[in-house]
Amino acid sequence: MRIFEPHAHMISRVTDDYERMALAGIRAVLEPAFWLGQNRTSVGSFADYFDMLIGWERFRAQQFGVHHFCTMALNPREANDDRVNDAVMEILPRYLEKDSVLGVGEIGLDDQTRKEEKYFAGQLELALRHDLPVLVHTPHRDKKKGFARCIAILQDMAFPMQRVLLDHGNEETIKITKDLGCWSGFSIYPHTKMDENRMVAICKEYGVERMIVNSAADWGVSDPLMVPKTALKLEQAGFSPERIATLVWDNPIAFFAQGGRLVAAELERPAGIDRRQTFAGNSVLRGQDPER
């Protein structure tokens, strides 16, 4: 089974993770720009981080056959920080034009402050300007209220809901999002947020249309194999392979392809960096083998 992992912070993972992910069927991964576990104090740190997402991390993933994409944003936590917030907003437009940037995210709310709301709205405008969908981080504390507030801001701006992925949802929030026309994201964690069995129950009740599951793997206790593990649980629960494929492959591709940069056909083969070009008509392969 092919899997598109739509939310994993791979810069904090080791190469063993990439290898296991590829073997488990993860053909592509999307890495949303987010907080790094501690606050940055200058815009330069953001620029270097963004460069890593479109450069080095992409190369690292490709070595294991995994296509790497990202979304770019000023995350809600650091939207509160006047040392960086405006300066990051200034550099974002350029990054939003990069080929592997498929959306604006993670934007949204965390502590639900006024500043977070201001930069959330500002980045929704950027998404409209750059014709990109948005990946919305929702608060881990006071979640229902945070969801409602995110939705209110989106509706105030008349942002097209089919271009919105409201992430980190659960049994409570799906009741709010199911009829909005947006996409509902669920982060499957080993101990917190949401687990595989609860996800199976949600899919049984609400189906798989406009639903997206991810591992949100990062620097904390998390598991980048949570999407394939959830797929296995769904199969055990009697879901057909077609419905599972809709959830773990078709849906994330359909959502992120809305920006016009993700071409599903290009994911038909694993990523590769070993071009091993022929030279001067000579068909002997003399390129570098990355494993040597």
Partner: protein, 275 residues
């Protein structure tokens, strides 16, 4: 620049060509401006198809187009129209994605070496992203031309060649690099080979072809030993190296091997060496 700009491959659709022409107009003579926005979309707009094998150049510039892609050539056109200053060009590279970085470096192969190019080569030398390093060193004589610059010189050249060996890129893709073989590079390559052998790892075959041009202590023994190597690729490289070295001390080893050499193409080299 080379005397003429390289033509885009025939496979590039008319709509993509029109887009490129419009983009060249939009950036013409404007340092910066729309360039950072247009540049990253080149692979998507123009395509990544490999170009047909052909040589391009003039005025000492030599590029093998077969190592480039359609978007690389489009980048040459776009940058030729924009004529960005050093700051803009560096910024395109430093704030560029993997493909932008390779396109910037590929474009330098079509232009005379200048201080900005040397700075970009320095950035590429410190990159472990294979396509970036490959774009700086392979399929043109850029590195060989940079050798003439005192700021780059033998030291810079040797450092990059050693990394070419370290990454296992073929020497023949680093156009004209062999013309700058030198004793210090031979020592560096032989040390790398010894280290690899001690670890039971593969030695860069082209080691033999380079050290033969500038022999140092240990070179002849390594060439003679290479003639008996079990790997065909290494044995061929050693035979070619021995031929290049032109040292009579190697002839008995070549004759001895010739009688037992199973590969016709290696036998052909050994026969030339034996006479």
């Amino acid at each position: 620049m080379a005397e003429t700009l390289p033509s885009l491959p025939a496979s590039v659709p008319a709509a993509a060509r029109a887009w490129l022409e419009q983009s060249c107009q939009a950036v013409r003579g404007a340092d910066g401006g729309q360039l950072p926005v247009l540049f990253p979309s080149l692979p998507r707009r123009i395509g990544r198809e490999p170009c047909a094998p052909a040589w391009h150049g003039g005025g000492g510039i030599l590029v093998h187009l077969g190592g480039l892609r359609a978007c690389d050539l489009a980048a040459v056109h776009l940058l030729a129209a924009a004529r960005p200053g050093a700051g803009t060009l560096l910024d395109l590279f430093l704030r560029g994605d993997l493909e932008e970085r390779t396109m910037v470096l590929r474009s330098r192969a079509f232009a005379p070496v200048d201080a900005t190019t040397l700075r970009l080569l320095d950035e590429a030398q410190r990159s472990n992203m294979l396509p970036v390093f490959e774009a700086a060193t392979c399929d043109s004589n850029l590195l060989a031309r940079a050798h003439a610059w005192p700021e780059f010189g033998v030291e810079g050249f040797n450092r990059m060649l050693l990394k070419v060996a370290f990454l296992g890129l073929p020497l023949r893709r680093v156009i004209e690099a062999e013309t700058h073989a030198n004793a210090e590079l031979s020592r560096m390559l032989q040390d790398l080979a010894s280290e690899r052998e001690a670890a039971g790892r593969a030695v860069w075959p082209d080691t033999y072809r380079l050290i033969a041009r500038a022999p140092v202590a240990g070179t002849l023994a390594r060439l003679a030993g290479g003639l008996e190597h079990g790997a065909d690729e290494l044995r061929m490289a050693a035979a070619e190296g021995a031929l290049l070295a032109g040292r009579p001390e190697l002839v008995p080893f070549a004759r001895e091997r010739l009688a037992r050499e199973p590969r016709a193409e290696i036998r052909a080299v050994l026969e030339r060496l034996s006479h």
